[in-house]
Symmetry: D2
Subunit: 320 residues, 4 copies
């Protein structure tokens, strides 16, 4: 953890300008870098299914999740609307023969494994493609919601296991990942990051929580390993469709910018238009890739098309 960088809001603004894709796919575009997922890309990615093996990258959606109430985010609340007790107690005896159970959920869309919509972040008063805050009101996001992604997220996935690269079980809280780490991981895994990929970057923080049997301040209230702001250029130049990590917010905490919270979100989500995934469970994938040596796969992770939503819970599938 020797290296420690520091940037200002002026730097962030300069990067935002340099790495901007506003207008690149037209003024009406709401997809951002997901535009890199072309039919050709999807078709080629499906060709990576060689074993028929499916891995889920979602954590359990339940009360034992990472949220602590910070920023109003709580863990999912699951209510049974009908259950086996009703079957036994006779409450369903008005139904001819069949008996059933039913349930409901109350949850922040960002409570567990999730995509950020492009309407999730504003920087200097604008969201992706120059849109203004009035487009996201109590009725939801009129633009840049998660809905345009409903039939788009099936592409090549590439897994970069940074702790493995560094020869340790996890990165420490506050430890940054730099572009050269991403490149080194890819090289060591003999995989190339290509246009339209979704890159899954493991920090090991979730493994650390498991080892400690506590989420602690995982959900945004403690230091965390994650991407250095310098990765914003890498994200832009690689022309990837998206990336995700096994952390709450993908960026190193504390941020390298005292005057900008989550600066990669400001640069890469708002200006590059990148798809960001958070709270991915990459531990099983790490074990699997270490075992078979295959770090690429067909990656399918459709959001729920909740009208106007600025994020979506997901169950991402890595299919090898």
């Amino acid at each position: 953890m020797a290296k420690k960088l520091s940037f200002t809001v002026a730097d962030v603004r300069e990067m935002a300008k340099r790495f901007s894709n506003w207008g690149r796919w037209g003024d009406d575009d709401e997809l951002g870098t997901v535009n890199f997922i072309t039919p050709e890309k999807t078709k080629a990615a499906a060709g990576l299914v060689r074993q028929g093996k499916i891995l889920s990258l979602a954590i359990p959606f339940d009360k034992d999740g990472p949220q602590s109430g910070f920023a109003g985010r709580m863990n999912p609340i699951h209510y049974m609307m009908q259950d086996g007790g009703d079957v036994v107690s006779g409450a369903q005896d008005w139904i001819p023969t069949l008996r059933y159970t039913d349930d409901a959920v109350v949850m922040p869309l960002q409570c567990a494994t999730q995509w950020d919509a492009l309407a999730h972040i504003f920087f200097d008063g604008k969201m992706y493609n120059g849109r203004t805050p009035n487009l996201v009101h109590s009725g939801g996001a009129m633009k840049n919601s998660i809905v345009p992604l409903a039939a788009r997220i099936a592409t090549r996935g590439v897994f970069l296991d940074i702790p493995k690269l560094k020869g340790k079980p996890w990165l420490e809280p506050g430890e940054a990942i730099y572009p050269e780490d991403l490149d080194a991981a890819a090289a060591s895994e003999r995989v190339l990051v290509e246009r339209g990929d979704i890159v899954l970057i493991r920090t090991g923080q979730m493994a650390q929580c498991r080892a400690q049997k506590s989420w602690g301040g995982y959900a945004g209230t403690a230091d965390a390993p994650g991407l250095s702001l310098t990765c914003a250029e890498w994200i832009h130049q690689k022309e990837i469709a998206g990336y995700a990590t096994d952390t709450w917010g993908t960026e190193v905490l504390p941020n390298e910018t005292s005057d900008v919270l989550q600066p990669i979100h400001c640069v890469s989500l708002v200006h590059t238009g990148i798809l960001i995934g958070e709270i991915f469970d990459l531990d099983g994938l790490a074990a699997d890739c270490a075992a078979d040596g295959v770090y690429e796969f067909f990656f399918v992770a459709p959001p729920l098309p909740i009208t106007g939503a600025v994020g979506s819970p997901i169950n991402p599938q890595a299919i090898k």
Copy 2:
């Protein structure tokens, strides 16, 4: 609509016995016919991706959905926890530079496009694999929940368009689909239904609702087209992994059994262990398949792994 069949609970019990898979995959099994989705099956199904085209089969998750409150099911409620108004009003001025939006949802898990878990239905006091109601209490389903399916639903999808077969825009409310209709549709589409497939069966009811600009009694309170109980044998013999329709409950309403509600659920879900999908939007798929003549595809539809859930909202992906 000439043919009208009628069965009794005794018939249903006899079918349940004949088409039972209890014990077939061991007493601990919680997957049922999803066991037919083997790695080989998944691998072969991925080979169906020839154009790189992705279709979402989910309806919008919002207040304009089909639910009317029947059985306590309401449409999703979407709340903004932070929105553009907060950006404008200064409510986030405590945050360094970045601004954001956040949201939450309250919804029955069965409110829109969804999978039924095997814990969703009981018949004669038992759910799939002979399990008892006490296993589904207010804390959720201890067995047969949706969670075991978290990394299993990627297989070949086959689409059977019954209205197209019959040369009309939709089946009428109360009109039943028989096994010979399924076979005729498959034949006319030059597609074979095979072990491990998930079969998507279109009734056209959703198209009718669209034409009438009203859901009416779609969500279980009016007559509906759907499968005849006689399809239970077809479901069992074909060894499919699952099936779904564009209706609320997949079965013809009124049911052919005055003393058993939703008898296919009792036979096929409880005893055969079939995966059932409901409220799928198959109209876009119908148009696409009619255009390219391809009625098979890679079908990926992972549930959200909500601990103990007896169903899951999904965004099913048909990838051609």
Copy 3:
């Protein structure tokens, strides 16, 4: 229903100015006319308890309520977190001997019988006492919330039964109540409206819904009987603390102002600072008052002190 008045936004602005109490109780005031409920007033009102009879003026809080989803308001959703089924099924056998039930509710605060907070309405960019919209953000109302009323709503209640005055079971949809009707009702009931009172005004609309066994468009989507805008002066001059009706919005619908929705809310809530109650069940009270001839009582209706709330569900008590 001969009389039909019509006003413009200019008239409403003029009334707002004339009937304004902004600054009357200081610039920091968040109580408005509830300031008229002094300790002397409360003490005197308690003296009206002569029979020890208690009437609840709340409708049942349940799924059969008046809401239809208009403006995002749905009826309360009640979930059991533990129930008798869990007792029977053994789900609580980990607890020593005791067994229990528990429940939760999801509800708009304005779904049933309720108070409007002074933060509920803005007119020409301001809420009560000249406060700006930025004070009510996604985190709730920083000013004029319901909380300052937590220990204030115990005063004299006066009941004005307009259908009784007019000799019919209910006012028709669209039928307006004028100040002279209020005065005539009071006179006929031999009761004087006094400073600090909360006046309960019955239109009979709820009785009509009951007779028709349907809420129909009660919750804001159909014509309704209610107060004429001309009552704004009466409300101001009488120096009452609040008023409530048995309707969704207290005002006659359609409003007498095509360019201002709910103009009394704009004048009387925003400028006079009046406490407004809606969806009160006044039918039982009507029968009781008709029987004993007593139209005044001790009225206690505390809001739930939900931090930042702009309204509150209540169970108002008329104690005679």
Copy 4:
């Protein structure tokens, strides 16, 4: 904290039998000891309003409440459905002139200041008046719900300040209150506990939480001061209508019964039919009573009539 008593389930059963009111007010009764609140009682209690002073005994209903998720109880979640940001952003510009805010709540009914309904507790398979668990299913409580109390809770309140009696700021966690303490407090306050009263008993635990600026394990997960099981006889003999404390569960924790959780609930709520209030904020009342020397008042605390509810959030009013 010298005295330490210990009882077994056999003792609890014996007390349950001795202090039972089952059948006392008929087999159909759902009120229990609230029957002691007669019109005469209510009328006399209203006479205690001598100053016109109102005190709210509710804690704030918000995310900073005492719940930690234990037993699935979380603090209230408040969502804005419309807020000032929407006013500013133009999201309401379709409305003629008026602008508004709206909100919703998600909360366990037992999350903050609350009444337990008689359907809340079962002992040896029965709730109050011998009713069985099947009467409380996922659709709510068919009997003994909170609803019958909707127009009943206006009576004499008596405040017993135990820490004041003992000359300390609060009772320690685990410290029990005995019948003689209740009698001594009443004597020292020169007040008599009478039939039909609701007795508010202060332990000081909430004051301790305030002093420590943390709820800690207040909500059922740590030791707490509270009533000894020996108070069950006092509760029965005094023929009070109800009692409440400033703690999570009113009873001393750890309980004096290792084989029965919350034994007073089993004896007094289930068999005596007592109304129990929890998480009352009695600190302001303590200061007020110490100041004016008046420990009795008119007590009005109507539950929200949520159909089938087994508890209710309340804002209890002590009116002097």
